[in-house]
Amino acid sequence: MTNLTVNLKEKIGFGALFLATMAVVVPVLCIIWLIVTRGWSAISWEFLFTMPRDGMRAGGIFPAIVGTFYLVLGSVAFSLPVGVMAAIYLNEYAKDNFLTRMINLAIINLSGVSSVVYGLFGLSLFVVFFRFGVSIISGSLTLGIMTLPVIITTTREALRAVPKPFREVSFSLGTTRWQTIRHAVLPFALPGILTGAILSIGRAAGETAPILFTVAAFYLPNLPNSPFDQAMALPYHLYIISTQIPNIRLDYRYGTALVLVGFVLIMNISAIVVRSKFRKKRW
């Protein structure tokens, strides 16, 4: 009798947990399905590779794709070297002291700061103080600082996974610390670093608030041709065609969402693939 109620309780408990999980998972699948099925009809050569026409109600989204490409490239060019070196410092050089604890705290805070606050920061530091103006370089640097924690944490994990004897053997051959890192540690951490870079690209491509006041343009007739030009960007484009311009065909908006989500998800899936290959490896 008691056994029965205990078993019943377990069934009900696990059932409830299962339902909660489904309440999270099913909407996610629905959202992806919705974007793919509704957006697919809008995708065409013209949509991807021509300029917008008729107040962005027709034509393509090419300048937004190009703008996002530049922004992502610029942000990774900044965050990858700084982030990897920061991770090397934390894993290979730093001692367990006050400074290290402050660095860890700072990384946690960088990843927790609201995206729109990054926008304000980029506006006041890069646009106004450094006089870069509203430009690709201001936007890239803002996105770069924002994605720094992603690269630092993934790289640090990758460095941590390199077994200690690798370093000891290298040291025992009389190498300096940097030579050891360069030849006995970094090559083995490369897949992990790559994962971080790919994830940060996905993150930078999708962010809207940090680029609102630092780079994003409503509409530009020409493609940007210098880092000091404004640019259109995919997430901002989706925002304005969803809220600012009336009477835009729904499939045009779904199409833009599909291009953005498609890019971001491809980045994330590549990161998962790289990481799982890396994890299977045994030293």
């Binding site: 205990v6 078993n7 309780k9 377990e10 408990g13 696990f14 947990l17 299962f18 909660a20 999980t21 999270v24 998972v25 909407p27 996610v28 959202i31 919705l34 974007i35 070297p81 700084v82 990897v84 070196m85 920061a86 090397i88 410092y89 934390l90 050089y93 730093a94 660095i103 700072a106 946690i108 805070n109 960088l110 700061v113 609201s114 995206s115 729109v116 606050v117 926008g119 304000l120 920061f121 006041s124 924690p149 630092i152 999708g206 809207t208 608030a209 609102l212 006041f213 997430p235 901002y236 989706l238 925002y239 969803s242 908006r253 969402a257 953005l260 971001v264 998800l265 980045m267 998962i272």
Partner: protein, 289 residues
């Protein structure tokens, strides 16, 4: 010799990059203060935080952010009520109940959710959730705090699930084995033993989820209706702190009171996220001390 110099330079660069995170956090705070502090001289900190009216472009402007704080709090409260129980329950299911293959599938699904850009969730919310809420409650607009709460709950879920799951997995195996050896069922072990071990991590996960919700900008701006009045119910439009900055910064004149006030809102947001992250970190590292 040349090699030594090269190495010296590289190690300096590594150190500088190491402390770069500290520098950036300080820079963010300094530059927010630099642009925002002057508003406290003209309006006063207390009046700024407790002023009931946000009319930034009237003459003279009224710059009280209480309606915006209330808007943020209301939306956050709604999102927390939805996301915390769902997130914790899902984390337990993924970590304790699901088979390895199902677990991997569910985790990928959560990862996909965390990867979807907020502007996309905002767009999806606008075309699906907003009309649904409008029809369901028969109200004039579906752009409400309630719609915002639902969408924000989904943005907080990946954070809550993944950190809670880590905390559950970190509970020592012996606890679980001991309970089972004493004759407890899996379910009894789960909610009498494992939940206690995982509690600090679960609390931290919920706090970080809350932090995520308060700082969220695009989706909230697109689906909460943006009315800067003190809300009385969940079914009316509200405007959050983040949405105010995002929506109004483009229209301000650099150096105007309005411009400074938006930076001052940024200071408020920065302080909130700082407090949340530091406290959550204390919970996460509780067991390590």
């Amino acid at each position: 010799m040349l090699k030594k110099i090269k190495e010296f330079i590289i190690e300096r660069l590594i150190f500088l990059s190491g402390i770069a995170s500290i520098v950036f956090v300080l820079l963010i705070f300094i530059f927010l203060l630099k642009e925002g502090i002057s508003i406290f001289k003209t309006v006063g900190l207390f009046d700024f935080l407790s002023g009931r009216f946000w009319y930034p472009i009237s003459d003279p402007p009224k710059l009280g952010i209480l309606p915006l704080i209330m808007g943020s709090l209301l939306v956050t409260l709604g999102a927390v009520v939805i996301a915390v129980p769902l997130g914790i329950a899902s984390a337990f299911y993924i970590a304790e109940v699901a088979s390895p293959r199902v677990r991997d599938a569910l985790k990928s699904c959560v990862e996909v959710l965390s990867a979807i850009p907020s502007v996309v969730l905002g767009f999806i919310g606008m075309v699906t959730l907003v009309p649904f809420v409008k029809a369901l409650f028969k109200i004039p607009t579906g752009l409400t705090a309630f719609s915002g709460s639902i969408m924000l709950a989904f943005m907080a879920l990946p954070t809550i699930i993944s950190i809670s799951e880590d905390a559950i997995n970190a509970v020592p195996r012996q606890y679980k084995e001991g309970a089972i050896a004493l004759g407890a069922t899996h379910w009894q072990t789960l909610y009498r033993v494992i939940i206690h071990g995982a509690m600090p991590g679960v609390i931290a996960a919920s706090m970080l989820g809350i932090g995520r919700v308060i700082g969220e900008t695009m989706a909230v701006m697109m689906i909460t209706g943006n009315a800067a009045v003190i809300p009385t119910t969940f079914l009316q439009p509200v405007r959050t702190l983040t949405a105010t900055i995002a929506a109004e910064m483009g229209e301000t004149v650099r150096g105007s009171e309005h411009y400074y006030a938006l930076f001052a809102i940024g200071i408020v947001l920065f302080v909130i996220s700082f407090l949340i992250n530091v406290t959550a970190d204390l919970f996460l590292h509780k067991d390590k001390r």
